[in-house]
């Protein structure tokens, strides 16, 4: 080989060897240091309940799949569960838990009545009942009135929240299209539900819009401007639902949507079910003696999100509000933002007893967090109190907020696989 070529090869080889060799050495030794340990293979444990034994075994089991089925629009199941939960509350009260929440007598009877009317009425009777129950008008978030003398036969949900509610309470033929992204979230919206509506809003064209002729579209302030324009040009009314940031706002939106699509009874029943479900989970927190911790003994629970860095939700978010409802003190108490970024050093200094991370890629993220050298001395990691929950429902303002609350409880007090 000529000398020049040898020199050139030497230069490039030296550089390549330096880079490759450095990486091999650095990441090889890192792999050895962080080799999977018993810590990452073992399941997370439930929070130890103190100071008195849990009363959970005395009340009915609560399963996510059942809750999910009910929230998807199974009104009979909703009624059955509400009845069970009322019994649970009475049991807890009989054990001396005065703070156990029961559905009010009035609402209980209302649930039973609505369920019977929905199940035992013929379509014509149902139609007449809906006309009776339906409000005369509703207002959207821009304070525009929508008269409901004649109900809207076909609607177009432009937001995930409105589509989620409609899939639960409306007839499929009333929904012209749904956001395509919902079809991919099969863990929230099974195919059996989303397949009832064939069209996606993203593939909508003005001509298809014209042919399907929705009378009203549910939009928000973040809806695509050109879509809004196209809808207006077609003469389609726009119902703005901009703020769904709290449980009350979710219920309020539910009721308004239900009235718009002439499903007031279903909407009311669903709101009552949501309230009852949230109450029953509150009771389960009480039953597990979570609230029995005094201030000093209360475990430090830190909820986190992880994108390219960690952050903790504030009370502006639904997740933060759920934490507060459960009696868990938020780290970001007085923050005007939606989330507060935290770096590893801050998390180490907080030294939570329990870490809950809401993430989409839970299987990948859990070992990544457990094996992070920065976290090895955090109490939560040492005591296997790292819990992963579904991020999609945590930030989803719809009836599935119940599942978000359930996931929170489940992470703390039940084994994740149960």
């Amino acid at each position: 080989m000529p000398k020049k070529a040898r020199t050139i090869l030497t230069i490039y080889l030296t550089a390549a060897t330096l880079i490759a060799g450095w990486w091999l050495l650095a990441f090889n030794s890192a792999d050895k240091k962080n080799s999977p340990s018993q810590l990452s293979l073992s399941r997370s444990s439930p929070l130890p309940t103190q100071p008195t034994p849990s009363l959970l075994k005395y009340i009915s089991p609560l399963e996510r799949v059942t809750l999910h089925q009910a929230l998807a629009g199974d009104f009979s199941l909703m009624t059955k569960l509400i009845s069970e939960w009322d019994v649970d509350a009475q049991i807890l009260q009989s054990f001396g838990i005065a703070s156990a929440k029961r559905i009010s007598q009035e609402n209980y009877l209302r649930v039973q009545l609505l369920n019977r009317l929905l199940n035992h009425s013929s379509p014509e009777e149902l139609h007449a009942l809906c006309n009776l129950f339906r409000a005369e008008s509703v207002y959207d978030d821009n304070h525009l009135p929508f008269a409901l003398q004649k109900p809207y036969a076909r609607v177009l949900p432009q937001t995930h929240s409105s589509a989620s509610i409609l899939l639960a309470i409306a007839q499929p033929e009333q929904i012209t299209a749904i956001p395509g992204g919902m079809r991919k979230q099969t863990h929230i919206f099974p195919l059996s539900i989303t397949s009832k509506v064939s069209l996606d809003i993203e593939s909508y064209s003005s001509e298809r819009l014209y042919r399907s002729r929705p009378e009203l579209a549910f939009v928000a302030q973040y809806s695509h401007p050109s879509t809004i324009e196209a809808l207006k040009n077609q003469g389609i009314e726009l119902f703005n639902i901009n703020e769904i940031d709290t449980l009350d706002q979710i219920n309020n939106a539910l009721l308004r949507i239900g009235n718009i699509v002439n499903r007031p009874m279903e909407a009311e029943l669903l709101t009552l079910f949501i309230d009852a479900a949230m109450q029953t989970i509150d009771n389960r927190f009480i039953a597990s003696n979570f609230n029995a911790f005094n201030q000093e003994m209360a475990p430090r629970i830190l909820m986190l999100n992880y994108r390219s860095r960690y952050s903790t939700p504030t009370s502006k978010t639904l997740a933060g509000q759920l934490m507060q409802r459960a009696g868990i003190s938020l780290y970001a108490k007085d923050c005007s933002a939606w989330s507060l970024p935290l770096d590893q050093e801050q998390i180490v200094n907080i030294n939570p007893d329990c870490m809950i991370i809401a993430a989409a890629n839970q299987e990948l993220l859990k070992p990544h967090v457990e094996e992070d050298p920065a976290f090895q001395n955090i109490t939560a990691i040492r005591n296997k109190q790292l819990h992963m929950i579904d991020d999609d429902v945590q930030q989803f303002p719809s009836q599935y907020i119940v599942l978000a609350y359930f996931d929170l409880f489940n992470a703390l007090f039940l084994l994740p696989d149960s």
Binding site: L18, F27, E345
Partner: protein, 332 residues
Amino acid sequence: MKKYFVYLFTILLAVVPLTLVMGDTPWDIVWKGAMDRLFGNSQQWNPLLDERLPRLIVILCSGASLGVSGAVMQSLFHNPLASPSVLGVSCGGSLFVVVTIIFGWHLHYPYSIPIAAFSGCLLTLLLIYMLTRYSGEVNLYNLILTGVALSTLLVAVQGAIMYALRDRWQLIQTITEWVSGSTVDRSWKHVHMQLPLTLVGLFGCWNYRHEINILALGEEEANSLGVDVLKVRWRLFLCVSLLTAGTIAAVGFISFFGLVLPHILRKICGPDNRKLIPLCMLSGGIALAVMDFTLRFFELNSFSLGNISAIIGGIFFLILLPQVQRKAVQSC
């Protein structure tokens, strides 16, 4: 010239301890933990040794890389407004890293990101050269046209991928945060990702500082003065790619920095790359460290390092633009 280095070293001596001291944990605890680690038996994670120090190294490397890359590209392209991304190499690195994040490989294999950045940058450079050679002579004009065309395509592909995945909002958030550039939670892993690339890249640029001066005169003149233009230019582009790959791997995207900093320094110390390159190395690191310190000190959580760099860079750019325009008119 020496006085600039003195000033810069003084600033560096001020910034380094400030960066290492500032943090959530009280200094006495941090210091004690560090001493126990270094001289005792403790294996416990220490903020100073395991986060602040590697973060400082990464910031200094990134600043130096961006500054030197910008200086080199501006000299090679005879344009004081060229930047490290003018050839589109950074777009290739970015695309590969985005794909890595989408598939979650960065959680499986920690070195997947530097390899992705490195591969993306180098493959893009090779592709630019191949396409330029295919379409004609490998000169600056053709290189820059090919680079612009290819970077447009790569950015479009990345945009298409992001659009297709727009429903996976967590992923979009992750990618958005990464693209904005961040020095949060850097560790020795990031130092190892970046440092070998930075050392090779900076050494290469430093080694060719004389040639860069001569190349700044023009290809024909450089040729006639004895510089093997094709060989040296290729090696310098390779070095810039390595520096870009290292920065992308360690901190993400920091735009405008590599354009504005060398431009300002050139006004201070002149275009001689024998002075400019070491000055860019030092001041790039310091400037980025100061920006990072400012973000942390004022707890500006709404901004990333890339945002601040782009904003400040843009402001400087607007201030400098009239002077550049005046100079262009005068030289006409």
